[in-house]
Amino acid sequence: MNRTGAKLKLLGFLGGFGLLMAAPIFVGAQLSPEAAEEQAFRLYQRINGQPPKLETLEAMRDDFLAGQVDRATFRAMNSPSLGFYRSTLKSMFNALSNPQRDETLPLNDFSATVVGIVRDNLPFNKILYGDIMYTGDDESMDFYTFRALPNNISRTYCGVNTNPADCVDIETITFEDGIFTIPNHGLIDGQRFRFLRVATQENFLGANNIAEVVNDNQIRMASNERGYFIGDFRSTLTISQQDVVDDEGVILLIHEFASLEPASKASRNPSLPLVRDNQSQNNINFAPGSPNNNFLNLQYRAFDEEGELVDFREDPKTIPLLNPAGAASRYQDNHHYQLIEWFMPQIWPSRLQRRTQTEVYAQVSTTERVSEADIMGLVTLREMAQHNFTAGTNRAAFQNIMSSFFCKNMSQVADSSAPDNRVRRDIARSPFSEYQNSCRGCHAGMDAMSGAFAYFDFDANNEYLNYSPSALVGAPNDNDNSGVSGPRKQYRAHTTYPPGHLPTDNSWQNPWTAGPNIVLGWNLPSSGQSLQSGVGARALGEVLAHTDAFGECMTRRSFERICGRPPTANELKELKEVSTDFRLGMPEYASEEADGVYNFKALFARITPMCWGRLP
């Protein structure tokens, strides 16, 4: 029995298992095949969240034995299970999207975009300035899902060509595997039918379904003009003693001969099929995982070319990101991403498609769309924007950037020697000593740089991002003074210190290129963007994204994820070199297509040997 085995015998099975994973490791010892396999097993789980398949395990073991732990890491990251993206990356970066560091959030635009950038080997620092976002791919946006709450509202079924007002009650509508059982339905083959909302007579599904009669009591929705029919998420649904209703009214089944026009024809950009035609927003108010799980999930399903039902679980679909209807035509929620995760739980990372925020915001029917100059990677995506730009003065955005992407809280970067010409009017200067010692250090830099966010305001009530470049005109008035939200919130408390700075545009200054914060390592972006000043959030993001501190923070966070602990002082020195390689690119990983600058997978691979691959 070898020494490790003896320990296990003494300590008990699982205790020993824990010891194997946690015991201090003497650097430099060679791994036995058995130990290499154990470490490969654990590393794969660390990266993917689940055990490996045997062939993967063996290949990783051989990598360990060959001293190529980085190759084993790539093998784990490239696993078809996609666990690296689905669990590790998603949770790691979910935590950075919110001040509470909650990594259990559902998939959202923030985490989906991180996953997409890493998957596609794009420069990772674009998360701070890229006009980029990932959504579901085009093919995943053909279906609609809506929430329907069971309710005891009268059941009504309408006969052929009847006025909806003349509908008669029925007791049950059973829907199973694509077939509606409706006693004495009266339909004949080829008849069109649709769903209506009783209260408004509004066309609910926006498409005419064509009935295929199975028998006197059963019909199948053979097709509609999109080739889909409505189906049940669970394939079997019995609606008994209750109707299917949405948040606003009762949904009924009705059929008729006449061809019906779609309820609405929303305009869309043909090059960006994010927005579906004739789709009511009421159809898509669906929140998987919400506290109210008393819902039934109905969903369109498709036929293939031969008329066979296509199982949506093999060809999953979800709703588009944007809704075309009226005021809701805003980037209003992240349900799109929740549905991607809900319907494509195993494969969603492979179904993400790169788009630009400019494209998406171009679909938003607000009068003032986010300018390209103010698009700042993850910072202006909805998930983080709600934390950055709700109420307040948008200083939170800068604070959150420092915390999430620089691993620094404001007290760590406070610099009372920085010029305070940009400290705003809402900061009291009296008593001066208190201002100088407690306020100026943070506000001198924070106020100067967060000027880039002056046009943003996240409407917490309606849950969308407002962008108002024309709002900051005219002298501030008394109403502005007490305002805490809205486009003129930059003027709040402006009477506190009237000589202070008054934001009137989205210009910013960076006072930290001199003084103690020079240690952040300011590197000139290739675009030539000035480090000292600029206009718009994108320009600021570009400057921040090229600092040494950004790379060091991402390196540090990756180390903790891979190694499960903070680095030691000596390891920190090594990590500084790793972060430099991260910034400049690692050509040795060209075979993995990970040799570009700021390649995140290369960063993981480079870090892993620092704490894996050695034994007592």
């Binding site: 008990g12 205790g15 824990g18 010891l19 909650d102 079997t236 195993q346 994820r561 190694c563």
Partner: protein, 237 residues
């Protein structure tokens, strides 16, 4: 004491014991913070103990990772129903729906903080409950049981506990569970033998004195399954 381990039996209690040692370990190393939840006020402070250099630290999977591991290892595939979901079988439909709803409820009841020290009680109970949910499906649903226990005496009709759990069959059951849940090559032989002995003790303890019917046989199978599935190899990484 930097690391605290203790011998324990492979019963549901082992889950708590495992987490107990993990929590103790994390607390001692990081002042209560979890491995990927650095303390914000001193985020860049390095560890003072250089003896830890070159090592990796035991961590706890996220709940989603735990579910996925259980999902994969049981073959239930709660997150990809098409593989086992048979719409023509109402029992399967009902079981699947129940499983999925319970998982959703478990996941939505999680604490928002990933820190091991902050999530201890509900985290541990949730993981154990998830193992129970999966094992309940495996042993309650005939189709799922037949699929999971294919090639063993437990795939078809079952007799009472005494008739079913002969010494030979106990070994078959336990080996089957360990092979499926932990993998055939993931652990040293000594560890495997200890686990087998623990599970056998549990099995005999649970079945003792129970009525001789197939319901109780499935209950015993569920208990052993839960103990194996809710244990460290599935939960830790």
């Amino acid at each position: 004491m930097k690391y605290r381990y203790k011998l324990f039996r492979l019963t549901p209690l082992c889950l708590f014991t495992v987490f107990g040692l993990v929590g103790c370990q994390l607390d001692s190393e990081f002042g209560g913070g979890g491995p990927h939840s650095p303390v914000e006020t001193n985020e860049l402070d390095p560890l003072s103990d250089e003896s830890l250099a070159g090592t990796h630290q035991l961590t706890i999977k996220t709940l989603h990772q735990v579910v996925e591991a259980m999902d994969q290892r049981t073959g239930i595939r709660a997150f990809l129903p098409s593989e086992t979901f048979d719409a023509s079988n109402p029992r399967m439909t009902g079981t699947y729906t129940e499983l999925r709803l319970q998982i959703q409820n478990a996941l939505t009841s999680l604490p928002t903080s990933p820190q091991a020290s902050a999530s201890s009680p509900s985290h541990y109970l949730t993981i154990f409950h998830l193992a129970y949910i999966f094992c309940r499906v495996l042993n309650k649903n005939p189709e799922a049981r037949a699929r999971f226990y294919e090639g063993t005496p437990f795939a078809g009709a079952l007799a009472g506990p005494t008739a079913t759990f002969t010494p030979e069959n106990r070994g078959i059951l336990i080996n089957h569970l360990l092979d499926r849940f932990w993998g055939v090559r993931s652990f040293k032989s000594e560890s495997r033998l200890e686990a087998e002995a623990d599970l056998d003790d549990l099995l005999q303890f649970v079945q003792a004195g129970t009525a001789q019917n197939d319901f109780n046989t499935r209950l015993v199978m569920r208990a052993v399954c839960t103990a194996a599935l809710g244990s460290a190899p599935i939960v830790l990484q």
